[in-house]
């Protein structure tokens, strides 16, 4: 990625509407109309935002002329924004902690037995 592309990426992310568009796309591809709906924005305004995001390499657009759904490009941002990735992490980390906790219970139990023997 060239330095120009990198500044384009950061510039694209600096705008809250574009970040919200990215978050929406984290849940699945969407047409310009679908993206415009919650923002109370005109279609050309949304298209403009999409162009900025596309140039920055953060999204890709479908080829069909009529309905060009936008989707998040694979990459670290997609991973971070994808709620199911967060949800899985929630369970994985909880179960890591459950394992640690069960180990600590076992260690305490051993300690107790040793104490009794003394």
């Amino acid at each position: 990625m060239s330095p120009d592309r990198l500044s384009a990426t950061f510039a694209a992310l600096a705008d809250p509407t574009r970040r919200a568009i990215l978050a929406r796309l984290a849940l699945g591809e969407a047409s310009v109309g679908e993206l415009a709906e919650p923002f109370d924005m005109s279609l050309p305004a949304v298209s403009k935002h999409l162009k900025v995001l596309e140039r920055a390499g953060l999204i890709a657009r479908g080829r069909e002329a009529q309905w060009r759904p936008a989707r998040l490009e694979a990459g670290p941002l997609k991973d971070a924004a994808d709620w199911i990735v967060r949800y899985r992490r929630f369970w994985e980390q909880s179960l890591d902690r459950l394992g640690d906790y069960l180990r600590s219970l076992k260690a305490k139990e051993k300690e107790k037995k040793r104490g009794r023997r003394k």
């Binding site: 989707r71 971070a80 369970w91 179960l95």
Partner: protein, 165 residues
């Protein structure tokens, strides 16, 4: 990235399945899920605590947890037990809300506890969840720290790509 958007629905459903083996007897692992004194010690991501943890382990009984993130933000969660079959099986609905009680995520979670020899237990968690689209928007508004991190990661990623050139 397939569900729902083209039909205009705002919901999308996904499933997470995780299996772990614990060096602890099945009855204890089951108790770790249904006794709040145990549950509050491990529920939630690393660094989180559970200032509220109430469990009424019977069918129709509720599970109420408030997780506190390291930054102090509180994340409430409510569950309702659908099936309880000690020490083998636990099924509950889990609903994550924001502080105003607005539903962000709804899950149906099944936990299976199986003997795994030598006092060990094989645990399987299957959680089918649906998230509101606005949950993702909220993530952007409320979890700026997370996004700063992703942008940092993006920066690193880009730097590596640059190295390879």
């Amino acid at each position: 990235m397939d569900a729902g958007s083209s039909s205009g629905t705002r919901l999308t459903e996904r499933t997470v399945v995780i299996t772990r083996i614990f060096d602890a007897p099945r009855a204890l692992v089951f108790k770790a899920w249904t006794d709040p004194a145990h549950l509050s010690q491990w529920w939630g991501p690393r660094g989180f605590t559970n200032p509220v943890c109430e469990v009424d382990p019977r069918v129709g009984g509720t599970l109420r947890i408030v997780m506190r993130a390291p930054d102090g933000a509180e994340h409430p969660m409510i569950g309702v037990f659908r099936e309880i079959d000690p020490p083998a099986r636990l099924v509950f609905d889990n609903i994550a809300t924001d502080r105003d009680g607005k539903v962000l995520l709804e899950g149906l979670t099944t936990v299976l506890f199986a003997e795994h020899g030598r006092g060990r237990t094989k645990l399987t968690v299957e959680s089918r969840a649906t998230a509101r689209v606005d949950y993702a928007w909220r993530m952007l508004e409320g979890m700026e720290a997370g996004w700063t991190q992703s942008i940092d990661r993006l920066g690193e990623h880009v730097a590596h790509v640059g190295d390879a050139d």
